[in-house]
Symmetry: C2
Subunit: 335 residues, 2 copies
């Protein structure tokens, strides 16, 4: 059983991925430390271990190699432990006061390299360009499935960012409904007639205290209401709703920025766990104005505490102005 259940208290949804059914002793963490057994386990993402994953959806391969065998450079597979399944139609079921959806959708894993232990900031730019191109391609393929209403691209690096595999990878999830999480951009558009992200770019360029870096196509800032210490957004300057419409010039520049920014962050913040989260507009729904795609990068230096979970109000001990100043100095120092 895997289903998406309505959380009546939070007015939200929860994915119950019960196929995974971790036993208590299989969780990676306990009260004070990590008991990692990863050294004893075969990494399913390594080259030569293709049989440990579901069959690949696509891969960049040497011409003479066969699907689901060695000889690849980047590999896309279904997430084995997903709440979302690619078959069937969306059905809502009611059970007394409760309700749920069956998990129709997609969850794909992009294995970014055949090599274990080589991380994003260590890739050459050509590989990062390939990864972004594949993310764009998967975004556009998933958006052709009209059961999918929202596509979330993200990356978990390190156990403190929720990664269950060390081997460098990203994920693409196609949800059968639009999450409410970023609905502020819609409200802002209704109130002002403007794009929130375009207005943020305008104000941050004027004020400059939260500005981290600027290139031809992108602005890097620590957002005004950063939920995480050193949280950074990479915002395309050109108003564009869908990540799937990213241009070749933007991809090349974004690849350069991913490598440069991630290296700086790893160096400044002592090799933290981090998430990449790519926010974009809903798909396959009547047009909703206000969206503008952007990449959110969150180092994970603290664990969410009871007060944050209970109230939804994150407590951040680092002012974004201080964070931006540190990261800006580091990035400019590299130029």
């Amino acid at each position: 059983m895997a289903e998406i259940r309505r959380d009546l208290v939070k007015s939200n949804w929860v994915g119950i991925v019960a196929d995974m059914a971790l036993k208590p002793q299989e969780f990676p963490i306990n009260k004070w430390g990590i008991e990692t057994t990863s050294n004893n386990i075969i990494c399913p993402f390594c080259e030569g271990h293709e049989a440990f994953t579901p069959p690949e959806i696509m891969a960049i391969r040497h011409d003479d190699s066969e699907a689901n065998a060695a000889g690849w450079s980047i590999r896309v597979i279904p997430n084995k432990f997903s709440v979302l399944h690619p078959d069937g139609i969306l059905e809502k079921k009611h059970n007394g006061i409760y309700s749920n959806y069956n998990g129709v959708g997609r969850q794909e894993v992009i294995i970014e390299t055949p090599e274990h232990g080589v991380d994003l900031h260590e890739f050459d730019e050509a590989r990062i360009v390939m990864i972004i191109n594949i993310l764009k391609q998967r975004y556009n393929v998933l958006s052709q499935d009209d059961r999918i209403k929202y596509i979330q691209i993200y990356k978990n690096r390190g156990i403190f960012a929720g990664a269950s595999q060390e081997h460098s990878h990203s994920q693409v999830i196609g949800l059968p409904f639009v999450p409410q999480e970023n609905s502020g951009v819609i409200d802002y558009y209704h109130k002002t007639g403007s794009c929130l992200l375009c207005d943020i770019i305008r104000q941050e360029k004027l004020v400059r205290e939260r500005l981290v870096y600027e290139t031809e196509h992108f602005l890097l800032i620590c957002p005004y209401a950063s939920r995480f210490p050193y949280e950074t957004w990479v915002i395309p300057k050109k108003h564009c709703e869908h990540f799937g419409a990213i241009s070749e010039a933007e991809i090349n520049e974004l690849a350069m920025l991913c490598k440069k920014y991630t290296s700086a962050m790893i160096d400044c913040l002592q090799n933290p766990a981090y998430n990449y989260m790519l926010n974009s507009a809903p798909v396959n729904v009547p047009y909703i104005p206000g969206f503008h795609w952007y990449l959110e990068i969150t180092p994970r230096l603290l664990v969410t505490a009871g007060v944050d979970i209970a109230t939804g109000i994150y407590m951040n001990p680092v002012a974004p102005e201080l964070a931006a100043s540190l990261l800006r100095d580091k990035l400019l120092g590299q130029d």
Copy 2:
């Protein structure tokens, strides 16, 4: 500077606790492990170390002991690193498209024992009764301050639950506005004319598959849309909006349940980090129907990943029905 900033994308608030201003090397975690230096540091919560905390707000003390010295059993102090300050009036400031509140409110720490390394489940019931009585008292004192609109009681145990101190403690926070997080109970009341928690009690007692334990005054369940593996709610059976109105009989039973449930959880789940979060009705606002106080207990066996943060949709790998079955067997086995 400490302020509460408006997050325009998430339509929410973020506390910027910049007085704390952790330097990058002071964060406790890095990519794969914990670098705890707590053994080298004097614990400010231990008896004899009272000078390391702000002056106490109240304490349960031996008759011959002096304030802010040894000789106490439970001690309440202001949180030194809070975004909230007890003086002044609430002011909203605008800065271009952004806005913030100054941090008016209270954040108190209840040091639950003078002894380091003794945890809640190891306390005798008499101590837990005293702690709950103090939480009730602080709730009622804070609710007399009409600048405070919402009181959140919570406990972080272990670094994976966001605790920055090992020494057993709880916290009470008085916010100057009502967080939207639990607004589903208001929507439910408007739609049905019923209390959501009362209706949950009714359905769970009928279905029984998520029921963990029942006493005269409380029902323990794993909620239908559990966000965390083994998440458990302790719901008072009598409809009651405010925790501050808990009866003596309920306090005694809740103390017994806290000890019994926490011991079972620690045993079943291999000594996990966990949060206690006490949800209650807003204070000092015009009456809003739909609230019913309850205690949420969340073992923290996984770290929130990119997909959960980005979409707000938590992915939980343990069905609440399985979780309830394991915890129920353990609790009934102890009877």
